[in-house]
Amino acid sequence: MSFFFRMISISLTLIFVENTVFARAIDTSTLISVSRNRKNIFGFGICAVYFSVVTGFLGFFADNFLLESQILKEQAYIYQPFIYVAILGVVYIITLLILWKYFYKIFLRIKKFIHLSALNCAILGAMFLNAQNCTALSEYIFRGIGVGLGFAFAIYLTAIVYERLHDASVPYCFRGYPLTLLYIGILSMAFYGLASTPIKY
């Protein structure tokens, strides 16, 4: 039971306290882009969770390989990105092929944004953070769930006020992008208050 609660707390921490966007600002560019269209948020969120969990799962084996290899261990920071991108690329292409072959309707619906949900800093960043913070496979998976859900949550919070941030009543200088940054900053400040200790970057 304690294992279950520990894993849930890891995911909740990643959603609220150490949210990918609000605490670390990772992939704010994608968030601003995706939040324009509320229709895609659900699909985007599911894709983000899927990719962060699967790449986290495979990342566990890659990290163990790096730790066991004497040559790579000392300079892991140099080779890690290439290994992670290779994992991400393989997962991305296999997923696309499976969807195209067996779930063509779903493929057509998500093909506009699947590359945004898979090939972004949030997913790649989750792999780097997993390598720093996790030891067990279960932690990699639950952190993956937390990162994916946290990213989707951040997109939702931005999307629900999209029209207001771009409203004609807002002064031109602040309308749209500048106000979106201020809004995310205020949200980020609120979420920062949930963390009792400073977050490592």
Binding site: F22, A23, R24, A25, I26, D27, T28, S29, T30, I32, S33, R36, Y77, I78, Y79, Q80, P81, F82, Y84, V85, A86, L88, G89, Y92, I93, L96, K111, I114, H115, L116, L119, N120, C121, L124, G125, F128, L129, Q132, Y172, C173, F174, G176, Y177, P178, L179, T180, L181, L182, I184, G185, I186, S188, M189, Y192, K200, Y201
Partner: protein, 213 residues
């Protein structure tokens, strides 16, 4: 990424060098107008020194990745091509990381995960096809160079202002300020300050437009 303002390919245009520079560095500034690769700016560029590290690494990785990516045939579908761009980025990262760690060992430590994350920056993922790789090579390189310079200038300015207001120092040298805004050192302070920067630039552009009319 502020995709409302993404300028389309400039293939058909024969702009003067001055307008190319102005458009790439000011009118379509990648940080303050297009919202490109802003995560490292918000988190890392909290001092002038860190901003300089970010500007250097971003410039090297983005320039060489985009340059090498321009040789990928456009007939390859975008969903597949984009993973090739990132793979190229991860290859460019290897020599960059080796050189940077030899020259500035502190940079690797200060930038943390944001250094390797530069290989998936939105310059490479979003703007590769909409702005750069559909242009002719010469024009692409010009837009790329001035786009990167525009990015670097804002990063350095942002780091400088943030360091002054949050720590009361310039590159470690203390200056007398009546009060400090320590929150600007944190990511949420970075978001807010960047929003103010973006609004100021928009105001300046509006003023220029009014004057020229």
């Amino acid at each position: 990424m502020n995709s409302n303002n993404i300028p389309k390919s400039n293939n058909q245009k024969n702009d003067s060098l001055g307008s190319v520079i102005y458009n790439a560095m000011v009118r379509n500034n990648h940080i303050l107008v297009l919202g490109t690769a802003i995560a490292p700016v918000i988190v890392i560029a909290n001092t002038l020194k860190n901003a300089a590290y970010l500007a250097l690494t971003f410039s090297v990785i983005t320039f060489f990745t985009m340059l090498l990516s321009s040789f990928i045939p456009q007939r390859v579908v975008y969903t597949v091509r984009v993973i090739i761009y990132i793979a190229i980025g991860s290859l460019v990262y290897v020599p960059t990381a080796i050189i940077i760690s030899a020259l500035f060992p502190q940079a690797i430590q200060n930038m943390g995960i944001y250094f390797p994350l530069l290989i998936t920056n939105s310059f490479i993922i979003f703007h590769s096809d909409t702005m750069f790789l559909t242009e002719k090579k010469g024009r692409m390189i010009l837009d790329l160079i001035f786009g990167i310079i525009g990015y670097d200038i804002i990063v350095l300015l942002f780091g400088l202002v943030r360091e002054i207001f949050s720590t009361g120092e310039i590159n470690g040298n203390v200056i007398a300020l009546p009060m400090l805004f320590k929150a600007f050192y944190q990511p949420f302070g970075g978001f807010i300050l960047l929003g103010i920067f973006a609004a100021v630039l928009r105001g300046i552009l509006l003023l220029i437009k009014k004057i020229s009319n």
